[in-house]
Amino acid sequence: MYKIIEHTADVGIEAYGKNLEEAFENAAKGMFAIITDGSKIDCKVKKKIELEKGDDEELLLVDWLSELLYIHDVENLVFGEFEVKLNDRLIGYACGEKYDRQKHGYGVEIKAVTYHMLEIKRNKKGVTIKVLFDI
């Protein structure tokens, strides 16, 4: 689950999950809903993403989303399904297809994932992530 949030001229997402992994997955879903118009993205191409974990979860979140943004930009892919496993490293899978303006519509070009208002919060229900994009 995620929702799109606004901040002055920028846009971001608040994503939830029962744990950090699920919150990371939902944050990625939210990001691609901003890039496209939220239309369905079929799972045709699967990409594996591996990241060093370090001890800064916020940095890891920025890395995860930036990595997806990078693949999107270079390979012209959009993703709709994600799977994140966190152990001593982050191992993630993103599944999607070539971007097609007719099919996926058109949202906003995200220039970068920012550190502004970046937040990872935990409570009894799980994890909430807040992240803003530069658009």
């Binding site: 001229a9 920028d10 930036s66 303006r101 058109y106 906003v108 070009e109 970068a112 530069d134």
Partner: protein, 487 residues
Amino acid sequence: MWSGPLVKIGDYRYEIPKTYRGINGNLKMKVPALIYASDEMIPSIRKDNAPEQAANVATLPGIVGKSLAMPDIHWGYGFPIGGVAATDAEEGVISPGGVGFDINCGVRLVRTNLKVNDLDKNKIRQLVDELFKNVPSGVGSQARVRLNKAQLDDVLQMGARWAVENGYGWEEDLEYLEENGCMDVADASYVSERAKERGKSQVGSLGAGNHFLEIQRVAEVFDEEAAKVYGIEKDQIVVMIHTGSRGCGHQICSDYLRVLEQAVRKYNISLPDRQLACAPVKSKEGESYFKAMACAANFAWANRQMIVHWVRQSFENILKEDAEELGMHIVYDVCHNIAKFEEHVVDGEKKLVCVHRKGATRSFGPNRKEIPKKYQKIGQPVLIPGDMGTESYLLKGTEQSEEAFGSTCHGAGRVMSREQAKRRWSGREIARKLEQKGIYAHPASWVVMAEESPDAYKDVSQVVNATHGAGLSLKVAKMVPLGVVKG
């Protein structure tokens, strides 16, 4: 709502005094901050936290003069958009946040010999459709040429010259670009593989967001003498291009924000906001960023150069006339997201400083060696793109702008978030309204049309009038769109 002190110190000039201690009460400004604005603009400027950001910038090590903000100031990443800060070239710092993600986002104006009567509605429509076909635009727009690694390195180091040497444009074009379309300091070995990967397929594309390509009519001339020198007259058809360094620049900024965050710790710099990450100008990190930033700037100049070439081709295809016969010369090309080393007078002394312009345009007056020979007596052309459907401006640089390190505004500051704009208007509705005003728009999508709807921005004329009033740049001509290609 920002409620800090804004002291009127002159016409169009509001100062945040050095004594202001910030929202948290512990800010240590090294210099005052100065916001250029008309009285009417102040309430809207107070609406977001941008003035606080201008005050934050005033704490940077080595900042000289004042931390400045132009009338189109709005909240940005670390530095406000519309911010100008100069730091000492020896003792100061350089900051990617003072440049922005879209390095060398800028504007180019191409003139023609055509008058508004030469093009009927149908021809405008044909031209816009042809431009849309020839210039890749929209999210994930991929260029028509995919470069290999060596070619991309050349683009990063040669800028617009690379494009001209490869058949995109005319030799004379280079003379009418800021920096002649190339910062020599660029060194592609400081650019990550990822940034290069993103650049390879995007050089020669408009992109998305607020970027556009417009066929415009010169609606009003305010300064006949300057207009004449710039080759501009009333009712003339001109073309405006607004785009930047695409994913390549975004990646370079992201990469170096990370590097400079580490540098902040290494050099023990204390900052009120993490996003002001910076490094001493003379440090390894600072120099590396500058060399990489210059590569992105060069990428953007090559990008706009290729687009100009396709604009000329599109006109040739539709009008069956040579671009040269059509007089399609470049008036000028300005960048509005950049850091540069320039000589300015600080406290009565000529000094080399690192000028950060983030959403601000260079506005050099007469006799500066950096501007084309043809414009020496008048000052450089300053190009201010409006928001779609309203108007854009051609101004001239002034000596007065020296007080702002030779800078002026860059456009209409956004007053509404993109999501808000999207909800309030549908793109088709806006296209219909534009059509009623005689403007034909071909957006890559209707959503973007809604996001970039004119009402989401401050009135550009208000912004331009404030800089005119302050003397930072003076109005020469106003252009209105006839046809729009939206990213």
